[in-house]
């Protein structure tokens, strides 16, 4: 074992392994060495085990987090779709109209030197006129005749105790939706008090508007050759 030749015979071998008395100085420090080796091996094994389980722990953590990421992504996508649904221009417009809002007209611009540019009009029940020409505002006309929706949802917003028929018929805004004829209707969305009056006004106003369009702005006779 130590280069001094193998001890022969079982008893000798035993005695060589477990010396009864502290033998020669060369063989004295064997036990700590063996212990050291055992500790090294043992700790190595344990470290390996810990490392392995740590790796596994990491992979468990990884898969748990991946699952969570998936879930959160799904949730984010669902919420994003919900937000998109609310912020779509069509949906915004519907809700704005339900609140009694109307499209604004051309805005006015205030320049640094104090001059005001643009000719803002007063908004009627169907939106602000874009031009105050002799004819009724084309944009308001378009909305009045096609969109029946804006006026209807506004009725339930008013207190139900006030029947619409009680309100006095206001013929003011019948022909034109010009600025001078609309203040009553224009103030409607903002204040709750005149609101009941606003809804009946918009209803009769629409009828003359559409008739005025067909009779008043009658197009020229059909051309033989296209033009215009």
């Amino acid at each position: 074992m130590r280069g001094q030749g193998r001890p022969r015979g079982a008893p000798k071998r035993l005695s060589a392994l477990f010396p009864a008395t502290p033998a020669a100085p060369g063989t004295a420090a064997r036990t700590p060495f063996v212990l050291l080796i055992v500790v090294l091996l043992g700790s190595g094994l344990i470290t390996l085990l810990l490392l392995n389980s740590a790796l596994n722990q990491g992979s468990f953590e990884l898969s748990r987090l991946e699952k969570k990421t998936d879930e959160l992504t799904d949730e984010q996508q669902a919420l994003q779709q919900e937000v998109d649904g609310y912020s779509a221009p069509g949906a915004l417009e519907r809700r704005a109209r339900r609140l009694g809002m109307v499209p604004g007209g051309a805005p006015a611009f205030l320049l640094p030197d104090g001059t005001v540019r643009g000719k803002p009009g007063v908004a009627g029940a169907d939106g602000a006129p874009l031009s105050s020409s002799a004819e009724p505002s084309a944009a308001a006309l378009l909305r009045a005749t096609t969109a029946g929706g804006p006026a209807a949802p506004r009725v339930p917003a008013t207190p139900p105790v006030v029947p619409p028929s009680v309100a006095p018929p206001v013929p003011a805004g019948s022909g034109t939706l010009g600025p001078q004829s609309t203040p009553a209707a224009g103030a409607a969305p903002g204040h709750p008090a005149p609101a009941p009056a606003a809804s009946p006004v918009s209803a009769p106003a629409r009828v003359p508007a559409s008739t005025a369009r067909s009779s008043g702005s009658a197009p020229a006779p059909a051309p033989t050759t296209p033009g215009r």
Partner: protein
């Protein structure tokens, strides 16, 4: 054979015929003289196991050596065969076998690349991709024999129907097929739907586990599965559907920009290769992973709000006029970017199967139609640029004009008009335009050639530059091929055809000081690295001089502003608006003959410092008026006012110059 062995037999000396018995060469002592006379010739003798002569001695065994040799030889041969085979497998055909083994051992899995988004100019998503699940079932797992529940399919259907929003009876029918292993229950469901099914299954599982062991009742949702994949979502439904297009069931772009930009949007699929054994992944074996490269997000030039205003307006007008279809194009005059491109009717790209076939596609680019009077602007541009007339040039417009084989008239029957060139445009006189365009050359063919060169420069009869799928170039014949009436109708917009974007581009060219900028729909892309790469700059070509363009802009103002103009309905208070109406005979695509009208309006604002061009066309209005000023004027007004507000364009505040429309003869 037995007889000779009988030792008690008396030997007989006599032998017949001297038989050659000594064939084997044995010593005579061992020879058995036992042949009977009557016996047949004895068979060849062999060393028998028991010889009478050696009876009392030890049994003589055969030598073991030959046998051992034989066995070892056999073993060696067998080993040799093995070795040869081994050599063949391991060395000669090693590659082929290894390849065949790998074929089975390694499983490639496709890692799908995420498709890029399409966004508007402000980054609002117009098309995006989300996770979705196909809910499938294995009905054989629900068979009554397996579950021991006689009505398992019915129960499962009752549970699933409210979650999947599918008819219960239809679900029952699908689930009640014990022979089937696969049924598709619902397509492209949100992850939340699959989560609800999973949660439901978990509670049912818990209940099943709690049941007594004597009567095991498994979960009725046991055979429900889900396939995960990607789904294309268009949050704004039919908004800009014509431009965006759609994605087909394979996940590839099927139309519109989804098809045009498919390469950039699709990204690159990745691949994961791992070793498997018995269907399970071998954890220690090396895996090869090429991650997927997600597609780029493309930013379009569209503005979602302006697009909505345009689409809303044209959809309402098309319904009101009982028209076939209509288009609105909104273009930024300074950059050529298309801010809105609306079609009516539109389709919902979320539900392609339910869309009307004629609504698919982008009609604003794929329809070629005769522009009518909006095209007079190009004739006027040619006349002014060539210097043969000025806005105040006097044109006497008779009631009828005879040219070629026809008698031309204006849309209203009038006495002789005394108009300026400005008035010709404002009142949209066909006769006046023919007279003015006739001045372009000394002879009619020369005038045709000059007009043609201007039309081409304005982009008529050539691609718009958008490279959009299904786009038309329009039709503009060579000037020498113009027939007799065509050479007089083309100046006022009949006998040539274009698409809506080309028409809008003509007005943008004038608005941009006579320089044409090719229209664009894509601003740029954001790659996987998050960096924004702007799209290449569009081509710019000078068509007319700045002076001519400015003059034309003021002339267009008269159309809208003057009492005698045809475009009064397009007025916007506070702004100076320039525009031109158009009412043209429409070629019916079914018959190829003129039938019905195309009403259109084109213009830009503010006229003295243009920012936005709006073009509107309505095909075949059947109810109410069919004049461009009446049908499209209000749409122009509405969309233009909205776009000006959205882009916060202030009015210039300058007074319009009000060019004269008429003149008094003799002054």
């Amino acid at each position: 054979m037995t007889e000779p062995r009988d030792p008690r037999r008396v030997p007989r000396p006599a032998r017949r015929g001297g038989q050659p018995q000594n064939r084997t060469g044995r010593p005579p002592a061992a020879r058995r003289p036992a042949q009977r006379p009557g016996a047949p010739r004895p068979a060849a003798r062999r060393p028998g196991p028991a010889r009478p002569g050696s009876g009392p001695q030890a049994l003589r065994l055969g030598s073991p050596r030959p046998r051992l040799r034989l066995v070892s030889l056999g073993l060696t041969l067998i080993m040799l065969v093995f070795v040869v085979r081994l050599f063949q497998v391991q060395a000669v055909d090693a590659g082929a076998f290894a390849a065949r083994a790998n074929e089975n051992r390694y499983v490639p899995v496709k890692l799908a690349a995420e498709r890029g988004d399409l966004t508007d100019r402000n980054g609002v998503a117009l098309a995006t991709s989300v996770d979705a699940y196909d809910i499938t079932a294995d009905p054989s797992l629900l068979a009554p024999a397996k579950t021991k529940i006689p009505d398992a399919p019915q129960r499962a259907a009752a549970l699933l129907a409210p979650i999947l929003h599918v008819d219960k009876a239809a679900l029952t029918e699908k689930l009640d097929r014990p022979g089937s292993r696969y049924e598709l229950l619902a397509r492209q469901q949100a992850p939340q739907v699959w989560k609800r099914i999973k949660d439901l299954r978990k509670t049912l599982d818990a209940r099943a586990a709690a049941a007594p062991k004597s009567a095991p009742r498994p979960d009725v949702l046991v055979g429900i599965f889900a396939d995960k994949h990607s789904k294309r979502v268009y949050p704004n439904k039919d908004l800009a559907s014509g431009v965006l297009g759609f994605v087909n069931s394979l996940g590839k772009g099927g139309g519109g920009l989804e098809a045009r930009l498919d390469k950039q949007l699709a990204g690159k699929d990745g691949k994961l290769v791992y070793a498997q054994s018995g269907g399970r992944r071998v954890p220690t074996a090396a895996t090869q992973e090429h991650p997927a490269v997600p597609g780029a997000d493309m930013e379009l030039t569209l503005d979602r709000d302006i697009q909505w205003a345009a689409q809303q307006a044209i959809t309402e007008q098309v319904a009101k006029s009982g028209a076939d279809r209509g288009y609105v194009v909104v273009q930024d005059t300074r950059t050529g970017e298309i801010l809105a491109l609306a079609n009516a009717p539109a389709f919902d790209p979320n539900d392609i199967a339910g869309a009307a076939p004629e609504a698919l596609g982008n009609a604003a680019l794929s329809d070629a139609f005769e522009p009518g009077s909006t095209s007079k602007l190009m004739s006027m541009a040619a006349v002014l640029e060539e210097g043969v007339a000025t806005p105040s040039t006097r044109v006497t417009v008779p009631n009828r004009l005879h040219r070629g084989d026809r008698l031309f008239a204006d849309d209203v029957d009038h006495e002789t008009w005394h108009l300026t060139l400005n008035g010709v445009l404002a009142k949209s006189s066909n006769i006046g335009t023919i007279l003015a365009a006739g001045q372009l050359g000394r002879t009619q063919p020369e005038a045709n050639r000059v007009l043609y060169s201007y039309l081409r420069k304005f982009g008529i009869g050539r691609p718009t530059g958008l490279d959009f799928p299904g786009e038309t170039d329009g039709i503009l014949a060579q000037p020498q091929a113009w027939n007799t009436s065509q050479q007089y109708t083309i100046p006022f917009g009949q006998g040539l055809s274009l698409n809506a974007v080309q028409a809008a581009s003509v007005y943008s060219t004038i608005a941009n000081g006579g320089e044409r900028i090719a229209p664009t729909l894509v601003r740029g892309s954001t790659g996987p690295d998050g960096r924004f790469a702007p799209a290449p700059k569009p081509a710019r070509t000078r068509v007319v001089s700045q002076k001519t363009a400015r003059t034309l802009a003021t002339m267009l103002e008269s159309v809208v502003d003057d009492e005698e103009g045809t475009g009064a309905k397009a007025k916007i208070d506070g702004y100076r608006v320039g525009g031109k109406t158009g009412t043209s005979n429409r070629v019916d695509p079914k018959t190829g003959r003129y039938h019905g009208y195309t009403a259109s309006f084109a213009g830009f604002a503010p006229a003295d410092k243009p920012r936005i061009t709006v073009y509107c066309a309505v095909q075949n209005p059947t109810k109410g008026s069919y004049f461009g000023g009446q049908v499209c004027g209000p749409i122009y007004q509405q969309v233009m006012a909205f776009a000006l507000k959205t882009l916060q364009v202030p009015p210039t505040g300058a007074k319009p110059p009000r060019l004269p429309v008429t003149f008094r003869p003799g002054q």
